[in-house]
Symmetry: C2
Subunit: 541 residues, 2 copies
């Protein structure tokens, strides 16, 4: 990657919200800082309990080894199917004493004390190396600030950057909780059209260049919310070229990019039909330093990587890497924003849980940087297998026809169109002449956890324009009544206009292949097949 390096970030403080400007500097600590860290100082200032009263003498855990997963999807992992019994798990025991035995070790007593919103010293060195090696930001003074996960992170970014009455640029189909965080504050989603690579840069440029504050009833948006990898819900992933185009437009119109990237390490590669897949080499699961480096170089760069102006706030989270209940993530951004995001946190979520910080820090340092990369690489393989297995099931259940899309939301992608494999009787053919009609279509995602499914409601026997919502709900309910839950797609429309315009003749569902067992994935596809054929009256009754 060629990276433009910049000596320092530009001053972006004019982007701070009125709220953020009014946030006071550590209300209790002003003036104390000078003395607090002096050796031997006796502080009777803080309302801190004595660590002698923390009823924990140490914490231990048996943690999985970083090479727990295979590195190529040669065969279905037996580990997965036996997950609930954990018979195959290889673990190592780690212990975190209350007080570190050696200086520099994890200080549990300190992590369980107040002040970790500020100090967070314990995770910094690991994250610093990780960000340098993996994201390689294009400006020098990038800063790390931990948070309680990306919900907290996004909420703090909004409070720090946006005023009521303003708008936030986002994908047409986007993550509803992110919108739920802004709408009550009278901050409005401003959807930007998408294609198979996510948000479109030319449409973004058009939108911003022609922005009329009067007719729009809001100033030109200064903030963008974007999920560039394995987008939620569409599953689309931005190429580096697209990211650079988006970034350039943001420079031109002075837009701050909030890069919410929980699926970054689930970059799964392209799907190919089972029979066309070449078997990968068997692998021990371990990565050499060289392989680790090579793997990192295959990842699509983060926006940080060419953020020569420091206008990106990147949100990372351990939710998909360790566990959602970690409630631990971090901002990488310029120091001006980092300081304000810290103040914002002091009056809301405060610091992440010390127990969680201790356990995660212990896992990371026990694994080491190379082990962590190996874990991420293995995780990718697991999700790749899940995606492949799920689409293989669909290919077994339906006739899948793959063809490139030339327009619309999937422009530039290979779209898979699904029709029934069940032969119809002559009677049925006469009633419903469209023999090979497409019941649904999708683009196999190259990242993330989701398959975004378009239901072709216009192929429904009695379809008439305007029936979309009713039919969509009817199908979803029939599927649920038969024991399978998909996520209704309309929930992800950035606003009501998007929902209506993109849903002419179709319905949408977000289908997650991340959680259930393989046997259940198979079972779910079989049920789905039966229900959808029945729905379209394709069932051979």
């Amino acid at each position: 990657m060629s990276v433009e390096k910049c000596a320092q970030s530009i001053d972006l403080s004019h982007h701070l919200s009125q709220l953020s400007k009014a946030m006071v500097i550590s209300p209790l600590n002003g003036g104390l800082e000078k003395y607090k860290s002096q050796p031997g100082i006796l502080s009777l200032a803080g309302g801190w309990p004595s660590p002698a009263y923390f009823p924990i003498s140490d914490i231990s855990a048996n943690i999985l080894v970083p090479e727990s997963f295979g590195l190529s999807p040669t065969e279905l992992s037996t580990f997965l199917s036996s997950s609930h019994h954990a018979t195959k798990e290889k673990t190592q025991a780690v212990t975190i004493p209350k007080y570190p035995a050696v200086k520099g070790d994890i200080n549990l007593a300190m992590l369980l004390q107040y002040g970790q919103a500020v100090a967070q010293a314990q995770l910094q060195p690991f994250l610093k190396q990780f960000i340098s090696e993996v994201y390689c930001p294009a400006f020098r003074d990038w800063t790390i600030l931990i948070n309680t996960g990306s919900t907290d992170g996004w909420s703090r970014a909004v409070m720090t950057l946006c005023n009521p009455g303003e708008g936030i640029l986002c994908e047409e189909w986007t993550y509803p909780p992110a919108m739920a965080s802004i709408i009550p504050f009278n901050i409005k989603p401003v959807p930007v059209p998408m294609d198979g690579l996510g948000m479109k840069s030319d449409d973004l440029e058009n939108l911003l260049s022609r922005w009329d504050p009067v007719s729009r009833q809001m100033p030109r948006p200064r903030v963008m919310y974007v999920v560039p990898v394995g987008q939620n819900p569409s599953g689309s992933t931005m190429s580096v070229a697209r990211k650079k185009q988006i970034y350039d437009v943001c420079v031109k119109y002075d837009v701050i990019i909030v890069e919410d990237d929980p699926y970054y390490f689930l970059q799964l590669g392209t799907y190919t039909f089972k029979d066309d897949r070449s078997p990968g080499a068997t692998s021990s699961g371990k990565l050499s330093a060289e392989e680790s480096k090579r793997y990192v170089s295959t990842l699509i760069p983060s926006f940080l990587n060419f953020d020569y102006e420091g206008r990106v706030i990147r949100l990372d989270t351990f939710s998909k890497i360790i566990a959602p209940g970690s409630r631990l993530g971090w901002f990488t951004c310029n120091p001006v924003f980092a300081e304000r995001l810290e103040r914002q946190g002091e009056t809301s979520a405060y610091s992440p849980c010390g127990f969680g910080q201790a356990v995660i820090k212990k896992i990371l340092t026990h694994w080491t940087y190379d082990g962590y990369i190996c874990w991420l690489r293995g995780l990718r393989t697991e999700y790749q297998q899940r995606r492949d297995f799920f689409i293989d099931c669909l290919a077994e259940e339906f006739h899948l026809h793959a063809a490139p899309a030339v327009a619309g939301v999937w422009e530039g992608c290979t779209v898979y169109q699904a029709s029934s494999k069940v032969k119809r009787t002559t009677d049925m053919t006469e009633k419903h002449p469209a023999r090979d009609r497409t019941m649904f279509s999708f683009v196999p995602p190259i990242a993330g956890m989701f398959l975004w499914m378009k239901l072709h409601l216009d192929q429904y026997p009695s379809f008439a324009p305007g029936d979309e919502d009713t039919l969509d709900t009817k199908f979803w309910t029939e599927l649920a009544e038969n024991g399978v839950l998909f996520m209704p797609g309309w929930k992800f429309a950035a606003n009501a206009m998007i929902k209506d315009s993109d849903s002419t003749g179709s319905g949408h569902f977000r289908v997650s292949f991340s959680n259930v067992d393989f046997a259940d994935l198979k079972k779910a596809v079989t049920i789905f097949g039966r229900v959808i054929r029945e729905f379209f009256r394709e069932e051979d009754l």
Copy 2:
């Protein structure tokens, strides 16, 4: 305690803020609820990682036994001074496997998954019993909602109840971060005068009955923030009678009470001079069920205990009970507010950390309810010893004259006035004739972690009205330069007016006896003695 029981809470939904009313109901879950909990349902709806990928096979901890502390302060605990070596700690080993061995056990896999903002099933039964037995709320349908600690709790309460431009009733001297959470939203502190029992009910009534929205430029406040036990910073504690008076005024003027009560279990009893203290009985540290009940009955009731209208939002936290880094607390309130507070959390801190929840749940259930009460009772003794030791040190260093205050912020309390013990030379006496002048005064707190110290700046040799700020800072700086940090009192003034009106001729400091070792407490008092005598030119030079 005689408790008015009420069949149900009144409808308080008119108190919800515009923001809260705009908060959508679980943006991703609407419609799914009906099916999600059905046995055998295959959910491909949620973006949940497989628990097989959580790299933890189990967590263990060595936890302190609940009877770790003595139950009467007969002699200085040796445990405390050796805390950093933990040689005397008696611990028990507990383990939390990823998947529960027995149904009903802690489900770590579930706590590490998404959804715990809603479900939180695992802590509910324990907290339910605890609240019933200890707080005994006066309305039936009280609801528990966990949060990430009281900073999060208060922030969510503000967002749920208050609109910009409104005011919040609070004590004249109050916790600055609580104010830092409201001021940026253009919500203003409305201070109510205090005496030795905290907020005054007659002054509250006066304030509300005479409220003029025009001259005040805001509607009559509908929300109160109050720290009733071991108030921060004043250390004052409300009697049950005062609480009932406050509650009645709040009923009359339809005010919601947010009871922030982190020091509730640090009710320490009255201080008496060392020589006047009768030695308590030696105790094994264990409490019988009967003793446990008796102890609970000695605690001043929470506002919940006579909240027959469900207008109290009580904030509890494990910060002072387990550890601040727990980042775990809970709301007890009516179900209407609880539902909205939950929505508010879904767009900010989300759920508390699963690691922390698991460890704390394990500690509580291992200890059992009686063990937990024993722990709380022991903790109280520890802090009582700390307070007693600290004031004993002051009594050794200064001449302390105890006399009841008849007016002012300490009305009704026994105030300790401190003057120098050092004999002056004739020369010094000639220069500074006020021989027994009071240098500082305080009321020994009956709860909490803080001693609120009034510095008598008008006794400063060259004092002239208006010198307060300069002298206050001069003293604080001299103390800090000599290695002791107090918390400057002016930081706690609810607004600038309070700071000025209450500081005529005096300065204030909040001194915490909760954290440093006993030897260091002693050392700090010695340094303080030297610095303050020098400051008032009382040193025998």
